[in-house]
């Protein structure tokens, strides 16, 4: 049997696209390597100002119910290994699926943040802490330290605390080729302004705004309190670095060194802090290998989080018939991913001849992506709009 559309990845982008295309009359299959559909939605949990709680797991369940009830087929626990012209999607069991269109919605993964001792049991990526706590409802540890300051780590720190986990603090990583700006207090302070929806305290919000001024920026390390500021009840230390994660067989402490007023790390004053779990937050990058291996033109755009397949305003790659949506095109929140899925599915439905008025449907889908981007409460990349503009310009010149 040949499908009209095979979607790779059952995250919010993929499922939304499948629903839209199926509603328009297409035969759709979703392939996903996880036992449960939902992608990164499954672990998400935070309060949206004036709107109540965003409980990703419930949103995922609703999407999946809706999709199955209208006849979208799901193939879980199945990894897509490759895509071949025609189009053919090859699965991990070597089975091949024929389809007219393919949507790659493989999402994002976390960048590594290697620190001495990071292979010890008890050191996990921040996303693993989110899934354990909010989805599986198992505490990643009793006393947890977080290394890496970004919107995701600040949000997950609060999720951990909500679940009764003691978070001893959020720290900077040591300076090494992997940590880059993650180790720079100036850079982090500047970007804290963009994280204000996560309700770091007022002082930080003000600081973040002031720090757009380069003169004030220089003073940052000087006035930021050595003992940190609290976000909720969690100390955020922009003047402490974790130099090493220790423990005989599993994690039992971190070694923390202060940063002096000139920005230097004072190794002689480092002290051990007892913890049984360390969460590393190195930032997110788009998972785009599948698109690269089938010959889509790839571009690296720092503002979007890394290397992505170049895509058209309708979300088509340089390979005709191969579309993309969601975090594979750049790191943004779940609602933008859903709107992008909708847009790609609208374009595919139009190609399949399923739409009566394709141009107005496309116009509307495009404006919904823009609307969600503007209203996003969680912005991962501070300059995402500039990144999207770069894509538009590059597409025009291809």
């Amino acid at each position: 049997m040949k499908f009209d559309l095979v979607v790779i990845g059952a995250g919010p982008a993929g499922i939304s696209a499948a629903i839209k295309a199926r509603k328009n009359g297409a035969h759709v299959l979703i392939v996903d390597e996880n036992p449960v559909a939902g992608g990164k939605l499954l672990g998400q949990l935070y309060e949206v100002p004036d709107k109540g709680w965003w409980i990703g797991q419930r949103i995922a369940e609703k999407l999946v119910d809706q999709a199955t009830s209208i006849g979208v087929q799901f193939l879980q626990e199945t990894e897509a290994w490759g895509i071949f012209p025609g189009w053919k999607v090859v699965l991990e069991n070597s089975e091949t699926i024929d389809t007219s269109y393919v949507l790659i919605a493989t999402g994002a993964a976390e960048k590594a943040l290697p620190i001495p001792g990071w292979t010890k049991p008890g050191v996990i990526a921040i996303g693993a802490a989110q899934v354990l706590t909010n989805y599986h409802r198992v505490k990643p540890g009793k006393r947890v330290a977080i290394i890496g300051v970004d919107p995701l780590s600040l949000s997950i720190a609060q999720e951990l605390q909500l679940a009764g986990v003691e978070v001893v603090g959020i720290y900077l990583p040591p300076i090494n080729p992997f940590s880059q700006e993650k180790a720079d207090p100036h850079y982090l302070l500047t970007n804290l302004a963009k994280m204000s929806h996560l309700a770091p305290n007022q002082l930080l919000k003000t600081a973040g705004k002031m720090l757009h001024n380069p003169f004030v920026k220089k003073l940052a390390a000087k006035w930021y309190p050595a003992n940190g500021l609290k976000i909720g009840n969690i100390p955020l230390y922009l003047r402490k670095r974790v130099m090493e994660i220790g423990g005989e067989t599993e994690v039992d402490h971190i070694r923390v060194a202060p940063i002096n007023r000139n920005g230097g790390t004072v190794l002689d004053d480092s002290i051990p802090v007892e913890v049984d779990c360390v969460c590393l937050s190195g930032g997110l990058y788009p998972l785009s290998e599948l698109a690269g291996s089938v010959g889509c033109k790839m571009v690296t755009i720092k503002e979007l989080g890394g290397t992505i397949p170049l895509y058209s305003p309708e979300m088509e790659t340089t390979q005709s018939g191969l579309f993309v949506a969601g975090n594979i095109t750049g790191i943004e929140g779940a609602k933008v991913a859903m709107a992008q899925g909708n847009l790609a599915a609208t374009a595919i439905s139009s190609r399949l001849g399923l739409l009566e008025n394709p141009s107005s449907a496309l116009e509307q889908a495009i404006s919904e992506v823009e609307k969600e981007r503007k209203n996003a409460i969680l912005t991962f990349m501070p300059q995402v709009e500039e990144g999207r503009e770069k894509v538009t310009t590059m597409w025009k010149t291809t």
Binding site: E33, N34, P35, V36, K40, L45, W53, I55, Q57, E77, A109, E110, T119, K120, P121, G122, V123, I124, A125, G127, A128, A129, V131, L132, T133, N134, H136, R137, V138, K139, P140, G141, K142, L162, A163, G164, T249, E250
Partner: protein, 99 residues
């Protein structure tokens, strides 16, 4: 280490199943991953590295890093973070001759 009653998500009602890890039986909840079930039983170390034999455990939690690989019912290198527990499942660590 289970979160019995979450302030927003409430209580979790799932059927209990029994799994065996390195010869010992543990209680797990239907639908959870092997890694989550073992962590709920205070077990972190899932395997030992091939050469140095140092302990390894869950890292990314989403199936990318393969740090969590274990042998499940005789099949090697299943990812404990994205493999769901089943009643009577037999799991063992890799990288040890006698667990």
């Amino acid at each position: 280490m289970r979160i019995a009653d979450h302030p927003i998500l409430g209580k979790q009602r799932k059927r209990e199943v029994t799994i065996t890890f390195n010869g010992t039986s543990y209680t797990a909840l239907e639908g959870e991953s092997i890694a989550a079930a073992l962590l709920a039983n205070n077990i972190r170390t899932l395997r030992y590295s091939e050469i140095a034999k140092s302990p390894r455990a869950l890292y990314c939690g989403i199936g990318h890093c393969f740090e969590c690989r274990v042998t499940v019912d005789g099949v090697r290198s299943k990812r404990a973070c994205i493999t769901t527990v089943k009643d009577g499942m037999f799991i063992s660590s890799q990288g040890v001759d006698s667990p």
